[in-house]
Amino acid sequence: MRTRKNKGAYYVVSLIILIILALLFLFPLYWIVTGAFKTGAEINSVTPVWWPTEWVTNNFEKLFSKRSAPLFEIGSLTGPVVPGAIRWLVNTVFMAVVAMVLTCITASMAGYALAKKRFTGRHILFTLIVCAMALPKQVILIPLIREMSTLGLYDKIWAVIFPTVGWPFGVFLMKQFSEGVPGEILEAARIDGASEARTFSSIVVPIIKPGIGALAIFTFINSWNDYFMQLIMLSSSSKLTISLGIATMQAENSTDFGIIMAGAALAALPIIIVFLIFQKYFTQGITMGAVKG
């Protein structure tokens, strides 16, 4: 039996380990953010400069002076010309937000149907979805490119959005959450006269909201960080996402790490904001399997 003293020691040791791990994970972010404000000499210095001696913003100035593109293009309608990095950021936010919203809608509906509706082939369908989770992205890449080309979506932001929307993991996650919706509540709604759509929107969605929150953040991060898919599907400069854009800059200006650091800091910012907002749901989503089985 663990004594009170032992418990105290256990707590202190765990805390120290957690602090060390947190610092380790924070370090790249710290290095990028401080690096974005360092001079070129400090960045390239052989002995690491841990803190900028002078906070400079010229990396950001250079980043925003590079290239120009319209803020948006919808058919023939184009926005004001802005620095390329801003356009990439707009592209990335649009891609991640639309993918997130569409995935949440489709996955929650599909998950609910698989969990609560009885229809022929339900188990086979779910097995297929679970199998699809095991497929590496590289395997479906060629068919996906051909599909997008046929649909006329190649080199369009939708080519990276649509493949995310049918995310099998999202359906799986939402099915697990929907299993927790008591059947009697759905029956009560049925007797009360609620249509399927009304039952889903007014009764089911509020109950599985934590799951949708977790899925939203998973999808957002997944979509934001899906460098590989973006690299394959997008090629025109104005269609690039922020990570692709930074990569192209790396190729052209292999020595100017300042711009790259500034771009990376800019790319990390929305993810951090989203994480802070949905943090509660994110942890709920991760621990869900542990409590619901």
């Binding site: 008591p182 509540i185 029956e187 009560a188 709604a189 007797i191 006269g193 109950i207």
Partner: protein, 370 residues
């Protein structure tokens, strides 16, 4: 008018499992029917078929004059209260109660009026702005009932609504349901596995076992004249005692012996046996614990005390009668001061059956001989 007719209703699940067999029942307008039976007897399945939550495999269900087999639950003009309350967790009590009315597009004033009336009837007005999780079990169940009564349904269905409550609250809510029934004055179909609820609430009780109806009758009828051994054992607490007996027809008179001791048969029972022309045969004799009397007569049956339970106003004696366990209830007032607190283990006692309060069952069919 909300009469119900269940004609040869069957429920056959995938794989051929028949959960309800040929269920026939006519329910009168404003009648309170209780479906009672042990777990798995098909009572909830029957209720769910009436609600439209389960498909009816065979047979016909009429609500009023309308065949409703294929009618959606919302169009059957029914309301249902579930065992788990089934309240919408993210809605307030008011929203829970008004949900169905909003879906029917009733005017706001009317919705408000109905919800407040129901809340007053159930004494939950002060909780209208709370979410279900902020309520106790009893309050939640009131909300669930409130949600049903605001709809002013033709038929009120209740699926073990008190099962999740503790014993004290259950008694209280049972009384509330009796009062509620007088206020809403509609047809009730109530499912329970608790025979006390069945006896106290029902105008008529339907006792079920393994998907079959065992008996339909008023509480008094099923208690006084159980159709078979199952009903006799199910209704009554503690349950009826059963003995192996021998019935002999001796001219115009019947004679009964249990464990070799003669047992007197009352005049009405003699008459009934004669009318049915029951031949001499082995029988199962049933007698309720409260009807068995301690006796000092020479030809009384002998037993020894296993357990003596002091219940306050009475004592429950668990006796061993020639290897058979029986229970008898003895009012404390009928005992001497010495035994008012109970009997010692191993005490030898004698008991007798009152002549008119015994039941005779056929050992083969298990049906009541009368």
């Amino acid at each position: 008018m909300a009469t119900l007719q269940l004609k040869n209703i069957k429920k056959i699940y995938e794989g051929g499992v028949e959960a309800v067999h040929s269920f026939n029942l006519d329910i009168a307008d404003k009648e309170f029917i209780v479906l009672v039976g042990p777990s798995g007897c098909g009572k909830s399945t029957t209720l769910r078929m009436i609600a439209g939550l389960e498909e009816i495999s065979e047979g016909e269900l009429y609500i009023g004059d309308k065949l409703v087999n294929e009618v959606e639950p919302k169009d059957r003009d029914i309301a249902m209260v579930f065992q788990s309350y089934a309240l919408y967790p993210y809605m307030t009590v008011y929203e829970n109660m008004s949900f169905a009315l909003k879906l029917r597009h009733l005017p706001k004033d009317e919705i408000d009026q109905r919800v407040r009336w129901a809340a007053e009837v159930l004494d939950i007005t002060k909780y209208l702005d709370r979410k279900p999780k902020a309520l106790s079990g009893g309050q939640r169940q009131r909300v669930a009932i409130g949600r049903a009564i605001v709809r002013e349904p033709k038929v009120f269905l209740m699926d073990e609504p008190l099962s999740n409550l503790d014993a004290k609250l259950r008694n209280q809510m049972r009384a509330e349901i009796i009062k509620l029934r007088k206020k809403v004055n509609t047809t009730f179909i109530y499912v329970t596995h608790d025979q006390t609820e069945a006896m106290t609430l029902g105008d008529r009780i339907v006792i079920m076992k393994d998907g079959w109806i065992m008996q339909i009758g008023t509480p008094q009828e099923v208690f006084d004249h159980p159709a078979n051994i199952f009903v006799a054992g199910f209704i009554g607490m503690p349950q009826m005692n059963f003995f192996d007996g021998e019935l002999a027809k001796n001219g115009e008179k019947y004679q009964l012996t249990v464990n070799g001791c003669p047992v007197e048969i009352g005049e009405s029972l003699q008459q009934a046996l004669k009318e049915k022309d029951v031949p001499s045969k082995k029988v199962i004799v049933g007698c309720r614990p409260e009807h068995i009397e301690l006796s000092s007569a020479d030809n009384a049956l002998k037993a020894t005390v296993d357990v003596s339970e002091m219940m306050g106003s009475e004592i429950h004696l668990h006796l061993n009668c020639e290897g058979k366990d029986i229970v008898i209830r003895v009012p404390s007032t009928k005992l001497s001061a010495e035994h008012r607190g109970g009997f010692e283990f191993g005490t030898d006692l004698k008991f007798a059956f009152p002549a008119d309060l015994i039941h005779l069952f056929d050992p083969e069919t298990e049906n009541n001989l009368i």
